[in-house]
């Protein structure tokens, strides 16, 4: 008798979910054969946020052939694109790894770290969202984004902050990046003639580099990385620094040190 009730529940369960009988049994027995609880449990844990799964199943159907082909061109083992694949893609887009547009591309692809792999579904979804199917499409989008980077301060900040995670070594995630790499990237971001979205005093920047070298700073944390942009935005020259810098403000300690350094070396 009991047996048949269970079986009935399984039939119902499969009727809803189209899943394997074993899966149905697992969820039902976990929830004491209460079909409502079991269904909730199933949708919660198996399908995650439901909507996402929904999207995912949707998009599978509609990816254009060219886009799928694009993925095949760069992927490894038919499942993901690794660093090498990305390098190739970047090159084919007419970019170098150190171009800021590359960071924009990484941002689009949610490629949060150079060592991360980009999986097929993600790759297809993110590019599809941008309306890209071919390398040429990507080029067009990146051209627009490059323009946006040049003129839109908010977008600039987003890309700047995003870049920290990208260049971080995988094994020290969320920690800090080496100073020489940081300096190279600062140069990319701040010494770029075409960028108008942020104005940074060359004088302060070179003093900052000087300071880092003199004080033998080795590492840059995420907090410093983000705050130094705010710092340069707020203080356009030595004069304004002299007038309104306050060590009681929440600047990271290293920026206080920088200020002190400027005072000690008579720059202020």
């Amino acid at each position: 008798m009991v047996k048949s009730m269970e079986e009935e529940a399984i039939v119902h369960f499969i009727g809803f979910t189209q899943c394997e009988p074993a899966m149905a049994r697992k969820y039902l027995s976990k929830n004491r054969w209460n079909i409502n609880y079991a269904l909730n449990d199933f949708y919660d844990s198996e399908l995650g946020g439901f909507t996402k799964e929904h999207e995912r199943s949707n998009r599978r159907a509609v990816y254009p052939k060219e886009l799928v082909q694009l993925f095949r061109d760069y992927c490894s083992e038919d499942t993901y694109i690794d660093f090498q694949g990305m390098i190739k893609l970047i090159k084919d887009c007419g970019l170098a790894i150190e171009d800021l547009a590359t960071i924009c591309l990484a941002h689009i692809l949610h490629w949060e770290n150079l060592q991360d792999k980009i999986y097929r579904d993600d790759f297809l979804q993110y590019l599809f969202e941008q309306g890209c199917c071919t390398v040429n499409d990507i080029k067009v989008v990146l051209k627009d984004l490059n323009e946006k980077l040049n003129t839109d301060p908010t977008y600039f900040t987003t890309i700047y902050n995003f870049s920290f995670g990208l260049i971080l070594d995988d094994d020290t995630r969320n920690q800090s990046i080496d100073m020489d790499i940081a300096i190279e990237y600062w140069k990319l971001f701040f010494l770029n003639e075409s960028i108008q979205s942020v104005e940074i005093s060359n004088e302060l920047l070179s003093l900052w580099f000087q300071f880092l070298a003199d004080e033998r700073k080795k590492q840059v944390s995420k907090d410093i990385w983000q705050m130094i942009l705010e710092f340069f935005r707020k203080f356009k020259d030595l004069e304004s620094l002299k007038e309104s810098y306050d060590e009681n403000d929440p600047w990271p300690f290293v920026i206080d040190e920088f200020y002190e350094y400027l005072q000690d070396t008579g720059k202020l």
Binding site: N174, Q175, S176, S221, D223, I224, Q226, M227, E230, E247, N248, D249, P250, W251, P252, F253, V254, D256
Partner: protein, 811 residues
């Protein structure tokens, strides 16, 4: 006997009837040609006048109703009085304007003379016209005719109009002149002035509301000129006075003036003037000269004469807005005095050293002078300054909160920061030496071996007093613990009770947490004593164990993190004689506390040794030696001569440890080294011979205290004396490093704790919260807090919010 009353409806007759009486009441100077004038004002006469006026008013009112029967009812109720009121008014004007001034009389006297008489008369007159006052006047006024007054007021108003208003300037001038005369020290007729000024108050009548007395007249006519004159007078007076007198004299003079003005002069003025007068005096006598007074303040503090300081304070506190500046000056003064006293102490010490060095021709001047100042001298000096100014604050400033606070601030400043605590040129991050000195002071107080003349008049109260002001209390704790550890291990405390008393006080002044380690150390020593007895009993009970094999042993089991000893593994073989004891003790201990690991701090062990190597027949020597020294000496039981190599082989000690242990032996000639010299000391084939018999004056000899672990480093440096301080510096550096790490950890813990409860907090609030949480241990600098915040962010406990100004806790 009485005359016939006039007919009630006849105004002239009525007036003629009452006029002589009025004259009589007011007191006329011109004799009227009337037979009644010579009479005194009798009740009869008073009644007659009253009746006449009454009749007039009543009759007229009634008859007017009768004669004008055709008029409206309103007229019926008309009250009569205006004609007679007008007559009276005219009469009064005439009367007052006819006053005659005597030739030798000042206007003031003239005014006062008449006023006195007139006001008395006016009261009577008011009564005689009472009926009119009550009915007609009241009716008129309630009808809105505010220029009609009751008779008394009418008298005063007329006086004001005729006598006072035209002449007020003259009158006031005369009064002010009189006052000036009095201020100059002359004797004047005060009562005239008092009366005159009172009259100004009386004349302040509000036509709208007679019952309300106002001070318009008084203020306009008298108070303003009076204040102005007062100011002028004292501006000049104080300036002149200061030319010929000292500021200190002036302070007392100002007090005298103020008390005279406020007390004796108060006879004159109405209470209303009290405040403006005080303010005027404050402005002229105090504020105008505040610069000089403040300058003098320093001089007075220098002189330490409480009466004068007190006088100045009392003067300046009259204007409370001036006090903060004075308190600031006091703070600055105390701070500088404290600093100077310490510098003086250093200078004296320096002189002493100079003398010594010229005598001994031993140039040690490059040594830090501050290390030669005794902790007692230093602490006592700090206290002395505090005590002086505490008394002044108490006696002169009556513990005014502003000044108590200034004193506290100043003391905190000079106690933590002076030439000795932070010599010029110290790095920013340097910690004040006061904490260390205070710890040494405590050590001297609590050490049994301290000489009587030093321990004399030292006290726990002293410690606590300075402790209260320490900014780096954690530094004190760390030094204190170090010295406390030595006292405990070497058993040199005066008594457990004394130690406990200090700990108790520190704990109640700060916190349980603060004295946590110290208390634990104390406990360790007690538990060790228990262990010692247990061990002893165990050996006594066990007959199989012979006493010779188990020398007396005093073990100390110390919790590793509480004690300021860091464990370092040392290459060392325990001598055979002690091995059994060691094993047995470990067994006893591990039986008691299973699972605890014992690490032995060999370099800290001491031993008492009886050496029978004196001349035959003499008592054996008692040596106090370190454990390493013991191991070495024990070797000489078998052989009189040993090479370094042999010693090293048997003890497994490093050359440095052997050398350090050997030096005191050589110095006290117990061991002879061949070849001699420091360099040979470390050579493998150097021979050491024990002196047998050993000749020494004392039987108790302490070799342990002569052990200097740095003996070789000084050898390597080839400099013996100049480098003397180096190890201390290294020690200090190590200490400071430890301290900074500890503080950093403390702050990080603080931040995490705060953020855990607040979740999200702006930067400044977090910083302030950190400062307030750490102030009982040390003064947290902003830079330290920021560094800690950075670290906590780095460790992912915290994240900066998008506004860049606040932080969020990450679970």
């Amino acid at each position: 006997m009485t005359e016939m009353l006039p007919r009630s409806h006849d105004l002239d007759a009525t007036w003629n009837f009452i006029e002589p009486g009025i004259n009589q009441i007011l007191g006329s100077e011109t004799k009227l040609n009337n037979k009644r004038v010579n009479k005194i004002l009798s009740p009869t006469m008073y009644m007659e006048i009253y009746t006449a006026i009454y009749n007039y008013c009543v009759n007229k009112s009634r008859s007017s109703g009768q004669f004008n029967s055709d008029s409206s009812n309103e007229q019926n109720s008309i009250l009569v009085g205006s004609e007679i009121y007008e007559r009276l008014k005219r009469y009064l004007k005439n009367y007052i304007s006819n006053f005659k001034r005597f030739d030798n009389e000042s206007f003031l006297q003239f005014h006062v003379r008449h006023w006195r008489r007139f006001t008395v008369g006016a009261v009577f007159l008011n009564h005689t016209f009472d009926y009119m006052n009550r009915y007609w006047v009241q009716k008129e006024r309630s009808d809105g005719k505010r220029h009609i007054f009751d008779v008394y007021t009418l008298c005063l108003m007329t006086w004001k109009e005729v006598m006072f208003d035209p002449n007020s300037d003259i009158l006031i001038n005369e009064i002010l002149e009189q006052i000036t005369l009095e201020r100059d020290g002359n004797i004047i007729n005060k009562s005239d002035i008092i009366t005159a000024i009172k009259s100004f108050v009386a004349l302040g009548i509000d036509p709208q509301d007679l019952k309300k007395l106002n001070l318009n007249v008084y203020i306009q006519v008298f108070e303003k000129p009076f204040l102005k004159r007062t100011e002028e007078y004292y501006v000049e007076y104080s300036q002149n006075y200061l030319v010929t007198h000292s500021v200190t004299d002036y302070i007392f003079e100002a007090h005298r003036i103020i008390s005279r003005e406020e007390k004796s002069m108060s006879l004159y003025w109405d209470d209303h003037t009290r405040k403006p007068l005080s303010e005027a005096l404050n402005a002229v006598l105090i504020r105008n000269h505040i610069d000089k007074l403040e300058q003098d303040f320093v001089t007075l503090l220098d002189s330490r004469t409480n009466v004068k300081i007190s006088a100045l304070y009392n003067l300046i506190q009259r204007d409370f807005t001036l006090l903060p500046k004075l308190a600031k000056a006091f703070e600055e003064y105390v701070k500088i005095t404290g600093e100077n006293e310490v510098s003086k102490l250093l200078a004296t010490q320096k002189e002493l050293l100079m003398k010594e060095s010229t005598n001994g021709s031993n140039n040690k001047l490059h040594l830090n002078i501050s290390s030669h100042v005794s902790p007692k001298d230093y602490i006592k000096k700090l206290l002395e300054v505090y005590e002086i100014f505490r008394l002044i604050t108490n006696e002169c400033f009556i513990n005014d909160p502003l000044f108590t606070k200034a004193l506290d601030n100043a003391c905190r400043s000079y106690i933590n920061n002076n030439e000795l605590a932070l010599p010029a040129g110290s790095p920013k991050s340097a910690t004040s030496k006061t904490s260390e000195m205070l710890a040494k002071y405590s050590d001297q107080l609590l050490k049994r071996l301290t000489k009587q003349e030093i321990s004399n008049n030292m006290s726990i109260d002293d410690i606590m007093m300075i402790f209260k002001f320490l900014t780096d209390k954690d530094v004190f704790e760390s030094h204190y613990r170090r010295l406390f550890a030595k006292r405990l291990i070497h058993g040199t405390s005066t008594s457990d009770e004394d130690e406990e008393a200090v700990i108790q006080r520190l704990q109640s002044e700060n916190s349980m947490e603060y004295t946590g380690k110290i208390t634990k150390m104390f406990q360790d020593v007690r538990l060790s004593k228990v262990l010692e007895t247990e061990y002893d009993q165990m050996i006594k009970k066990n007959i199989g164990l012979r006493r010779e094999k188990f020398p007396e042993l005093q073990p100390f089991i110390l919790a590793e993190n509480m004690w300021p000893f860091s464990y370092q593994a040392v290459e060392y073989n325990l001598p055979e004689e002690l091995r059994l004891s060691h094993e047995k003790l470990e067994t006893v201990y591990t039986n008691k506390h299973n699972g605890r690991i014992l690490k032995w701090l060999w370099p800290l062990c001491r031993a008492e040794l009886r050496a029978n190597i004196g001349k035959p027949g003499k008592a054996p020597f008692n040596f106090t030696v370190t454990l390493f020294q013991l191991s070495i000496l024990l070797q000489f039981n078998n052989k009189d001569v040993l090479t370094l190599e042999e010693i090293q082989e048997s003890t497994n000690l490093s050359i440095q440890n052997i050398a350090a242990a050997m030096v005191p032996f050589i110095k006290f000639k117990l061991v002879q080294q061949t070849p001699p010299g420091l360099e040979a000391l470390v050579k493998q084939d150097t021979k050491f011979t024990i002196a047998n018999p050993y000749k020494a004056l004392k039987t108790n000899i302490n070799f342990a205290s002569g052990v200097k672990n740095d003996i070789l480093s000084s050898l390597n440096a080839k400099i013996q004396d100049t480098n003397y301080n180096a190890p201390n510096d290294i020690e200090a550096e190590k200490l400071e490093k430890e301290l900074n790490t500890e503080r950093q950890i403390f702050l990080e813990a603080c931040i995490v704790r705060i953020m855990k409860s607040k979740r999200k907090l702006p930067h400044t609030m977090l910083v302030n919260e950190c400062i307030s949480q750490s102030h009982k241990r040390f003064h947290a600098k902003i830079s330290m807090i920021k560094r800690a915040i950075d670290n906590v962010i780095q460790k992912n406990y915290l994240q900066r919010c998008d506004d860049g100004e606040s932080y969020e806790y990450l679970a």
